[in-house]
Structure formats: structure tokens, C-alpha cells
């Protein structure tokens, strides 16, 4: 009898598990809830909700289910994405683009049109077809499009994120599989630490020796550990702007938390792809640039190079001179990338986009080829693999 309720909770984005459902049944069988709905509510809450931030959501779903009203559930599903979308859009839109949207009747109008169009699209393409890539131009013309390969801003990826959010299934993914959460960051940090401490076991571990000797009832048992190698130097290059901002923040946090484990940690920002300049302060990106050549001269080749970016852009931006969206670049991004890789043989690219989606974007393939396939997803497993290849 509680099974539909259980699925409703899960549909509502809660991580309720089967174990918890069984616990609730067990409790009901033990006669804990008695006859009152209030008691049942308290019991269900204690058994099914494990995070106070989900209490509100639970209340709404509980109310909806036990009053037989499912409208509130659909509200629940739609409220959040819009907020999220709005935030995303605000992040990635420039002043001009915002003005353009205003002239189109404001954000709300636009969103409404967008949603209608998406509903249609969703029905027609239910086989899992990736219509996003091809339909990318027409529905979202309002905020910039790409006639003949001229890119304006972050258009391509913004379309993508808009679609992603409105599609319910995807939204749920977003909710419960935040790739690197606070807990995960710490676990991931361990991996970084491990690689900062690698080396030959050539130091006497006094504590462990005493411990092991004592355990041996006095027979000497010498223990060695690797010296704490703090020799790891990291050059971190972050793609900044638009869709990448959230990920960049996570990466910065992650690496600066691990900072004490590295001998040096230097970071630079780039937009979409590396060219002749990078910068250290995003607010002064126009005035205070650092030449990429200077970087390669200043930081020796024992630095490990870590790129973080979604590698999603027009292939022109990588392959051709003048392909950059921000300025006229004399030499193609690929040339600069090769220069960097020649200087820093140990390099990886961390991509926050899910790996399954990489194949749909030609630019990701280009970058992977350039990187000799050393592109890893920004997940614990990906980070693990990446760090292994950096060793």
C-alpha cells in the first residue's frame, strides 16, 4: 500500500531506499503508528527522511499523496528547474544579451515559449534521440545563435543546459548525483594527497616500529615509510565563464584545500580554449594577462598540468587561427595546446560533463586527440584515473 507513495517520494527527488521502506513497514507491523495519521506521519518521517533539507519536500509529497492531490508534485518538479535555469542564464548572459531578452518580452515570456517548444520536442523524440544538437538554433534564437560558425558567447552550451533542466529525468540526475559534493571533495582530496606522498620507503617510521615491535612481544620489527614527498607542483588551468562557473568553483576549492600537499600550485584561467594569453584574476582578464609563452618559461617542465573545462565549443576555436570567440588569435588554439604539452609532458584534462555525452560534441573529440586521450570525467573515479596518469 505504501509502494506508490514510495515511488512518489523518489519521483519527487528524494533518495529514499528500499531498506528504509522496509523499516517503515516493520515499524507499522510493530504497531507503532497506532490509528492516528499524525503518528503515521511522524513515523514515516523518521524512517524515510534522513536530511533536514528534505523535510519540506517530504511534507509536500506526503500532503499530496494522502490528500489524493498530485498537483503539488508537478509543482515541485517545475519550480526548482526554473529557478535553477534562471540563475544559470543570469550567470552566462552578458549585458547586451540581457537587454535583448528584455526586448523580446522578458525572461518569463521567453521561458514560457521555451518550455512549450520543449514539451513538443520531448514527445516527438522519445527514443532517446539527441535532437538538442540539431535543433539548437531555432527555438533559442532570441539569445544569440550561430550563423555559419560565428559564435556569440556561450550559445551552444547554454542551449544544452536549458534542455537538460527541463527534462525531468535529467533534472533528477542533477539533484542527486552532484558529482563532487562536500563529502566527495574530501574523499577526492585523499587521492591527491596520496599522489603527493608517493615515493620509495626510505624513512624509519618510529611510531609504527614501536607499535609493531610491541605487538611482536619485543622482537624488533623495523617499519619504513616513504618520505613525505611534497615535490608535486601543479599548474591548474581553468575554463571560466558561463556554464563552467559552478564547476570552476568546485575545482578551485578542491585544489586550494589540497594546496598544502603540493610544493607549488599555480592557477590560470582561460575561456573555452588556451591561446596566447591566460589570466589570473577573472575580473581583470582584459588588463592583466599573462602570456602563455611566459608561463611555459617560468614554470619548469616538472609541473603537472591540469586543465578543467567542458571542452564544448565550436571546432573552429581549436583548429583555426582567429577562431577564438573573444579576440583575434594569430595562431590556432591547437598550436598553443601542443606547445604546452611539449613543455609539460604530464598533463590531464578534467571534464565536468558526463562522459556519456562527450561523443556528441566534436570539439571534445578534438581536445581528446590533442591530449592523447588523457581526458577524465570530474568524478571520483575520473580524478583517480587522472592522478594515476599524472604520476
Amino acid at each position: 500500500m505504501l509502494i506508490p507513495f514510495f515511488y512518489m517520494l523518489r519521483e519527487g527527488g528524494m533518495k529514499t531506499s528500499v531498506t528504509e521502506l522496509l523499516t517503515l513497514h516493520e515499524a507499522l507491523q510493530a504497531g507503532l503508528a497506532g490509528q492516528s495519521v499524525d503518528d503515521f506521519y511522524f513515523l514515516a518521517r523518521a524512517a524515510l527522511v534522513k536530511d533536514e533539507s528534505h523535510l519540506d519536500r517530504f511534507d509536500r509529497i506526503f500532503g499530496a499523496y494522502f490528500k489524493g492531490v498530485d498537483d503539488s508534485l508537478s509543482d515541485l518538479m517545475q519550480d526548482i528547474p526554473e529557478e535553477w535555469l534562471r540563475r544559470q542564464a543570469e550567470l552566462s548572459l552578458s549585458e547586451e544579451e540581457r537587454a535583448l531578452i528584455e526586448s523580446m518580452g522578458g525572461f518569463d515570456e521567453l521561458m514560457k515559449a521555451l518550455q512549450e517548444r520543449l514539451d513538443e520536442q520531448d514527445e516527438r523524440h522519445e527514443g532517446g534521440n539527441k535532437w538538442i544538437g540539431t535543433a539548437g538554433t531555432s527555438p533559442f534564437g532570441a539569445y544569440g545563435f550561430n550563423p555559419e560558425g560565428v559564435r556569440i558567447g556561450q550559445e551552444g552550451s547554454r542551449n544544452r543546459s536549458a534542455v537538460k533542466v527541463w527534462d525531468k529525468r535529467e533534472y533528477r540526475d542533477l539533484d542527486d548525483s552532484v558529482e563532487l559534493g562536500t563529502r566527495n571533495i574530501k574523499v577526492a582530496l585523499r587521492r591527491l594527497r596520496k599522489f603527493a606522498r608517493e615515493g620509495a620507503a626510505d624513512q624509519l617510521d618510529l611510531d609504527d616500529t614501536i607499535d609493531k615491535t610491541a605487538r611482536n612481544a619485543g622482537l624488533l620489527d623495523i617499519r619504513m615509510i616513504p618520505e613525505r614527498h611534497n615535490a608535486v607542483k601543479v599548474l591548474l588551468c581553468l575554463d571560466i565563464g558561463g556554464s563552467m562557473d559552478d564547476h570552476v568553483r568546485i575545482c578551485e576549492e578542491m585544489f586550494s584545500a589540497a594546496r598544502s600537499e603540493f610544493k607549488h600550485l599555480e592557477y590560470f584561467y582561460f575561456h573555452n580554449f588556451v591561446y596566447e594569453n591566460m589570466w589570473k584574476d577573472n575580473r581583470r582578464r582584459q588588463s592583466e594577462k599573462t602570456s602563455t609563452l611566459d608561463i611555459t618559461h617560468k614554470y619548469a617542465s616538472d609541473y603537472k598540468l591540469v586543465f578543467v573545462g567542458d571542452a564544448t565549443m565550436s571546432p573552429y576555436e581549436i583548429a583555426y587561427p582567429g577562431g577564438s570567440v573573444e579576440h583575434w588569435n594569430e595562431e590556432a588554439g591547437a598550436v598553443w595546446m601542443q606547445r604546452l604539452l611539449r613543455t609539460y609532458p604530464k598533463a590531464i584534462w578534467l571534464n565536468p560533463e558526463p562522459q556519456a555525452r562527450w561523443d556528441y560534441t566534436p570539439s571534445v573529440k578534438l581536445v581528446r586527440d590533442l591530449m592523447d586521450d588523457r581526458m577524465y570525467p570530474l568524478t571520483i573515479a575520473g580524478l583517480d584515473d587522472g592522478i594515476r596518469s599524472l604520476r
Binding site: 515499524a27 507503532l32 503518528d39 523518521a46 562536500t182 563529502r183 615491535t213 610491541a214 605487538r215
Partner: protein
């Protein structure tokens, strides 16, 4: 069953939802995880549960350096080394050097005990994971003596957390969960009532008004909680402050006396004084 139901005690007011969560945990012998603002009586809960059910209480306070293993047992290798140097006969039996932890003690208890694991979020991030098996099966293996220790009576386990770290899902699934909401004014007056039975009605309501007003000040780093309120009332009583003094001439801009007991942070005190000052300037009497 009747005497197994927890309903709060003479010194602890438990809301209906809290009693339900506790009773569910007691009946199904699952751990209960309690979260809530600091000072809302999380740790007190375990003590009160033990008292009201008449069970022995084992408290395990977690620190940042605590390992899960320490709750089970520790092997005192140094003592054994010393004994071996002194030629003590004890050295041949390794079980002489196994020091029991709190969990083991609770497992050995002759009647069903209450085990408090206090502030589990202080420990290392893997700590809860390391205890999964022990809490689930209520048994663990002592490698040194090759002995399996299982609980004589499954303890009632109360776990508190201050949310400093997220707890792993696998761990959460095995627990009942309760978030202690900050009590509303009605519950609060009950709480104060059990602590200060003879308190004058007038003083109580004035004190609560003043207290909730302080809590409502925006931007406080640490809002005063139940335990601070109780301290404050104790002070008010000790100083014999009349209810009228709490009201002030104009209720909106009076500083409650002895407010140092409510605000524990320098910046908060500063902010509060500033607000009151501004308020006075805007509404001169």
C-alpha cells in the same frame, strides 16, 4: 511494552514527533540519529531516554581524532612490551592487553543499555562507514584473540550530529532520523517550566518575549538557543530582576538585562547594541 515507551521525563519535554522517532528506534532496535541547532538538547535526549526507561547509559564522545576501532577495543601493545621486558607472566595471554571500548561495554551490559554516540560528525569522514557492520549486526570480531563479541541485548543507540560533515548514505539508511526543531513559544514555556517550576508567569512570558525578539534579530552569527535561555533565566532569578525591567518603557528598543548570557559572540553583541541604538534614535521617547 508499556514501560518501554519513551514519553519525556520530568526534566525533559519531548515533542510528539520526537517521542515517535525514539519509540520507533527502541522498538525496532535501530539507531536513531538526532540533529538540530546546538543547544536544543540532542545529547540530553540520550540521558533522558536512559533515565525514563531505567536503562544504563554508555556515553561515547567523539573527537576529531577518534577512530571507530577505539569504540570497540584497543590493543595496548606498549603495556605488553613493558611486561615482556619485566618478565611478567601476563605477557603470554594477549587478551590481558585488550582494552574494551564503549561499544563493547554496552554490548556486554546485562540489561538493554542506551549507547550515546555524541557528535559523530566530529570524527573522520570514514568513521560512520567503519561502524556500519557493528551497528547493523551488533557484533564485531576481535582479531587478536579470535573472538566474536556480540551484544547480549541490542543497545538503544542514540547518535547526535551537528552537521559539520555529511554522513554517508549507507549509514543513514540504517538509522531513524529526527531533526529537533527550535521549540515554539508554547513548547518553550513548558521547557522552562520543568526547569524552573516556581517561576512567576509574568516573568516567564516577558523573558520569552525578549528571548524570541533577540532570536529574531537578523544577521546574528549564533542565535541563542534553549540552553542559553535557561542560563539566562537562572541569572535573572539570581539577580532578582522584576518582570517590568524586561519590558522596558518601550518594548521595541529596550536592551534585555544580562543579555551577555544570550549572545555568545562579540560581533553579535556589537550588532545587537547597534540595532538598539539605531532604534532609539529613530523612535525617541
Amino acid at each position: 511494552m508499556a514501560n518501554d515507551r519513551f514519553t519525556g521525563t520530568s526534566s525533559y519535554i519531548a515533542t510528539e514527533d520526537l517521542t515517535m522517532a525514539v519509540n520507533a528506534a527502541v522498538t525496532l532496535q535501530r539507531p536513531i540519529l538526532v540533529k538540530g541547532e546546538p543547544g536544543t538538547g540532542k545529547t540530553q535526549l540520550a540521558i533522558e531516554v536512559a533515565e525514563s526507561l531505567g536503562r544504563p547509559l554508555y556515553e561515547w564522545h567523539i573527537k576529531s581524532t577518534t577512530k571507530a576501532q577505539q569504540g570497540l577495543y584497543e590493543y595496548d601493545a606498549v603495556a605488553r612490551l613493558r611486561d615482556s621486558q619485566l618478565g611478567d607472566d601476563k605477557v603470554h595471554d594477549i587478551s590481558n592487553y585488550i582494552v574494551r571500548g564503549k561499544v563493547w561495554e554496552a554490548f556486554e551490559s546485562e540489561e538493554q543499555p542506551v549507547l550515546l554516540i555524541d557528535e559523530i560528525d566530529k570524527a573522520d569522514i570514514e568513521f560512520p562507514n567503519d561502524l556500519l557492520q557493528e551497528l547493523d549486526r551488533m557484533e564485531f570480531f576481535v582479531y587478536e584473540t579470535k573472538k566474536l563479541v556480540s551484544a547480549k541485548h541490542r543497545p538503544i543507540i542514540v547518535i547526535t550530529s551537528n552537521n559539520e560533515k555529511e554522513l554517508p548514505d549507507a549509514f543513514l539508511r540504517r538509522c531513524f532520523f529526527h531533526y529537533i526543531k527550535f521549540p515554539d513559544q508554547e513548547t518553550m514555556s513548558q521547557i522552562v517550566d520543568v526547569h524552573f517550576p516556581g517561576l512567576k508567569k509574568e516573568l516567564l512570558s516577558e523573558a520569552l518575549n525578549a528571548f524570541y525578539k533577540v532570536r529574531d534579530v537578523r544577521g546574528l552569527k549564533k542565535k541563542p538557543s534553549t540552553s542559553e535561555l535557561l542560563d539566562w533565566i537562572k541569572l535573572l532569578l539570581a539577580e532578582d530582576i522584576p518582570p517590568e525591567a524586561l519590558r522596558g518603557e518601550n518594548s521595541s528598543n529596550a536592551i534585555p538585562p544580562l543579555y551577555g548570557a544570550l549572545l555568545k559572540n562579540e560581533q553579535d553583541v556589537h550588532l545587537f547594541e547597534q540595532l538598539v541604538f539605531l532604534d532609539r534614535r529613530n523612535n525617541p521617547q
